[in-house]
Symmetry: D2
Subunit: 384 residues, 4 copies
């Protein structure tokens, strides 16, 4: 129907992130005016039956069980990696070497060493665009926060506070899923959710976390294994090998004080990722449970009329929102992905660098590694 150039997409993985990315790819051309046509070529997963189902449900033309078969296809331009962290390195490097653009879910890798290998591949393949899927950057309110910092509305920053609160494993009988297995997931709350907080706050402030004192905790040490097929009634227990909660305090390269907390044991908080930034000229606050709102305190106001202002981020001149609904009509979680891939596609079209790049992902990985090292070394400050 359209005479536009086509961009072929292949996605590896079809679980939660696969569903979310598919929603974004499927609607991209219907929401944003882009000079390319998105073609959802193939989705890949190991379970033949399930990946077929996912392909039909989410709108992919084909499905595949071996990702290697997709890597060299000429009709595929972008590899979108939505698998657990232990497979990121292999897939991403193969894709980059094959000249594909790569969008990779976070955390970039399970270790700094793996992330560094991936960055090497990026350097060897300068034509391939690379991006880590820190989707929270694309919440309009968060993007607006960054713009406000850039415009000087906050001034010198004193405090950066971030927290990511979940509660999905408070129940002690919740089973030992892959996210609780260090071999698969690399780490627990640290890599899964603190990673988002680190990227988000560095993005907003332009400051890099430079030194940290960390603390990791696993509240429940053993959990029931996922049921086997043999229908045995006996519940077998396995060891939780990742952190349930990750906290750290420290400083940025500019001297701001930071305080981070990520936990899966914040009873009553389903998925509340938020931040507070206190600066000389102003302050900002955000909570994902109210994702269309940004709070701003303008310290240049006379105190008589000063206060935190609740900005409903749904105006046409707010980031990403000219494509959506009239002011006051809120958007939801999934459009962090719509905005993310819109930006990624635009970088490909305009041949500019994508952000957050794999280099950014590696830097986040180094922060996480420093937290872990400090936590294992009696909390001693660790430089990033």
């Amino acid at each position: 129907m359209s005479s536009k150039k086509t961009l072929g997409i292949a996605m590896i993985g079809y679980a939660f992130m696969g569903k979310a990315h598919s929603q974004a790819w499927r609607n991209l051309n219907n929401i944003y005016d882009l000079p390319v046509e998105i073609k959802m070529v193939s989705i890949c997963g190991r379970d033949d039956e399930k990946v077929k189902e996912a392909a039909e449900k989410y709108g992919w033309q084909e499905w595949e069980t071996d990702w290697k078969k997709l890597i060299n296809r000429p009709d595929i331009d972008i590899i979108d990696i939505c698998t657990p962290g232990d497979s990121h390195k292999e897939i991403a490097i193969a894709a980059l070497n094959a000249g594909k653009h790569v969008l990779c879910e976070k955390p970039l890798a399970n270790t700094v060493a793996e992330a560094e290998e991936m960055l090497e591949a990026v350097k060897r393949n300068p034509k391939s665009k690379n991006m880590v899927a820190f989707n929270y950057r694309r919440v309009p309110a968060i993007s607006l926060a960054k713009n406000m910092v850039d415009e000087g509305l906050i001034g010198r920053i004193f405090h950066i506070r971030a927290r990511y609160l979940q509660d999905w494993i408070v129940e002690e009988n919740f089973p030992l899923v892959w996210r609780l297995d260090k071999n698969k997931a690399g780490s627990g709350a640290l890599g899964d959710i603190a990673a988002h907080s680190v990227d988000m706050t560095q993005f907003i402030t332009g400051e890099k976390i430079a030194a940290v004192s960390g603390l990791l905790e696993t509240f429940i040490k053993e959990r029931p294994l996922l049921q086997d097929s043999d229908n045995s009634k006996e519940i077998k227990m396995g060891k939780v090998t990742v952190d349930d909660a990750a906290l750290f305090i420290g400083r940025t390269d500019k001297g701001s004080v930071v305080s981070f907390e990520a936990t899966r044991f914040a009873t009553g908080n389903r998925n509340d990722m938020g931040f507070e930034i206190f600066g000389e000229k102003g302050s900002l606050k955000f909570s994902f449970e109210d994702m269309n709102v940004l709070w701003f305190f303008d310290n240049t106001n006379d105190r008589e009329y000063a206060g935190f202002k609740r900005i409903l981020v749904t105006e046409e001149n707010h980031p990403y929102l000219n494509a959506w609904w009239p002011p006051g009509h809120v958007i939801g979680y999934e459009h962090t992905f719509t905005h993310e891939i819109m930006d990624f596609v635009e970088c490909i079209v305009k041949d500019t660098e994508a952000s957050p790049s794999f280099a950014d992902g590696l830097q986040v990985q180094k922060v996480l590694a420093a937290v872990e090292k400090s936590a294992n070394n009696d909390g001693k400050y660790e430089k990033v």
Copy 2:
């Protein structure tokens, strides 16, 4: 790809509502498991260029400028009417008579008389499903509120309060768009937004508004006409013929006291539609600016631990949400439409009655007419 039966859709209108409905039709099969395949056959509008553009942008296979050509096509099963209120009657009746299912934007019509004619057509065509697009019913939090009333958690209701606050025409130079023209729109805030509030609260409570004392106000009586093509510099003014604000108080058939307010002059409130229901056993509160939240006060609690509870309506067992994201991941405005058409399609598939039906739409229309009549009769109570 699929062996499912196909449902062909034609949409009349391509503005705000057209965009929103398109988003819903486009994704329906990707979100919900339905035994039919949605086919977005054709979109219709009077401006050839613009409707073509809309078709491409929103994912319709064809476009058309004369809705009458669509009415009898065998590949079209549903007519989705997204035009201004003055054309609803003619299109809907033609579509019903042609055996099509009809989804019609609200208000159902510009007058009670028109709505009654439409209901006659419904009665003559019992096989055609009919639904009015009061999409706010399909906000999960609002649907949950209805369930809670049905389960007896609120008990006898004392007060029903609703308000719909917008501020898009506070600026006195805002031009005289069609929504400010009684001939096109039928009424102002009354039909446009109070209609939503009336349907929503009646839906939740199961009570019907029985008598009202109304007040209508037009704060700014004249506005600049939309610019003509002749580029004349002189600004011509035209008369605003609808209400800027509509208020009424009254009682329901069960004796609850009601208080409604709809306005386009609530400076600072972009699109805040909300309600409060105070009952014997409990109370409920909702504001659309925080659309994923429902507040509940349980009056059976000891007062020591009693308080309004902030229910984040994102759980799998909340209405409509099993199809979406994990708990804590909020959804946005557009999915009120996804849920609405999901319900409509399900009614077609299962051959059950859709709700809100044209009969419900007529009843809302009668409430609005009573408000208008009372307002023009010194506020005297008017029975619905």
Copy 3:
């Protein structure tokens, strides 16, 4: 100890309001620097035992059971009337005629006719200061709101909305106390709490309510009589003769649209009196449950950074607050009375007119009477 002139106070009534006024009188000289010394001379009530106890508890030097004995004492300068509304007229007129300054609890009287008689007495005794105890005016946030309107920060007002929500008689076995008896109380929610809302909003906006359409409702028509001393087990029922809820819509003398609601059946809301004012240049919101906070939307902001601002009204340059704690240290309900009597004493000292005066109280009474008349006349608009 002090060489200051003394002001002798006598208070009639010792229930809730007596306790609150006593707290204020007792601390006035310790909080504000005034050129007079407050002397709490005598408290008066009909029950000898109870009034004696109140005198000791609340810090009065003497007690008395016959208010007439206090009226002419030379050591008493101010008569503070805290009795039910049916006795206001007699006491106030006697006190004014005796040359005393009079502070009278609201509503000023149970009928317009009584209030008019009281105003006659005021006119005959120009040296006596007179004030109605609409204490909510003295909430710092409400006083700040008035200042902001006066400074032009709100501009032309479109909407004035007020509500006063209580829930203390939702339980159907709550007994028939004097506030539910028209002979004692004059009216129910209307005179008791809507009166506050009317005074408060007129104070803030400087506009007078000019015409209303009213609705009164008594949800529970009969209640148990208060237990007699004869220990009979049989519960006797009596008729509730006042309104449980009072609503009205209307217009002010400047053309603003008003919407008021006062109820004792707002389950879950203990004492939430609040308002919203929507204007051309800005809007204001307030809720007494968060009495140290005023919300302000500045419509002259660019929409990119616009939003309702949460002003914590605890700064030294906020009304009344220079006498209190450092910023951020909130104050409570009782200081509405401290501020009120501070203002009243200042008027006496400086020989200026107190506000709200009995004339203001009469005007509020007329609004309430118009609401009642409209409610009894099918909701027809009634001019004030």
Copy 4:
């Protein structure tokens, strides 16, 4: 007037805390029914003129410039110490040795060694009651939180988070007041406000902070000295010798993870002390800006109706509140002191141990010392 036994009070210090404590002493007998009569005998301060003024303003019978003259007077039973921390030890020990009951402002002392000496004096004088003025324990909402933990509504605690946010010295020209001088104040945000957070959370949870990793920061290193009397125009700068912000993470004796932050650089937050406790069965949240509210999440609820409940802590059966106003009528900051001295007096009357005792104050001091030591030792965990 009363035949009750008298308790004579002497207060040392007349600044902010002196004013607040005076308000409490002055009203105690008017609010609570106690078997003793409070007599405000004398207030003491070094500046003769100012202390005389304070005595008159705040209701003290006498004033004094040498605290030693008050210590042995037989008409004085309680010494209330409201001076800066560097004088606490000397005054408290002298008072205890003289057989007086001692209420001492926090922090108990400027060093652990001083606090230990004070505790020795306590042990030598078992008849003297001793209490540290951690007044936030007496916020009704905080006291309610403790009761809820004690009743088992929270269960095993995972996370204890506290923060105390102020912003009074963000401005770089704010002068070098005594609170910024280590010799006077002992420390900055750490001893001044983190001390409150430590006491409060230990009080609520019954857990003791056992190990910490700390971070201290002074954002602005030099500030203008307070103006001398010589009227020289030249501004002299002095060194800030205390922390502007104090953060720490760690664990309690029961294994809960803690995260604390106290700062005077939280732009926009005047005095927001708050906590969050996440447990197995429930969670609690509190912010002092809304001091009459406690948030409670009950994890035993079905998730369909679960959510954080906003408990307005103004009911008669809430801690301390039977003495105050009807439900819904909020109280203010100063009554934390009213409740504190009510409890202290009750301990004296009933001869029971006061809480928080000097022993509790010493334990808090040890936590603060451990934070400081860790901060000076590269963040290494320090045991308390």
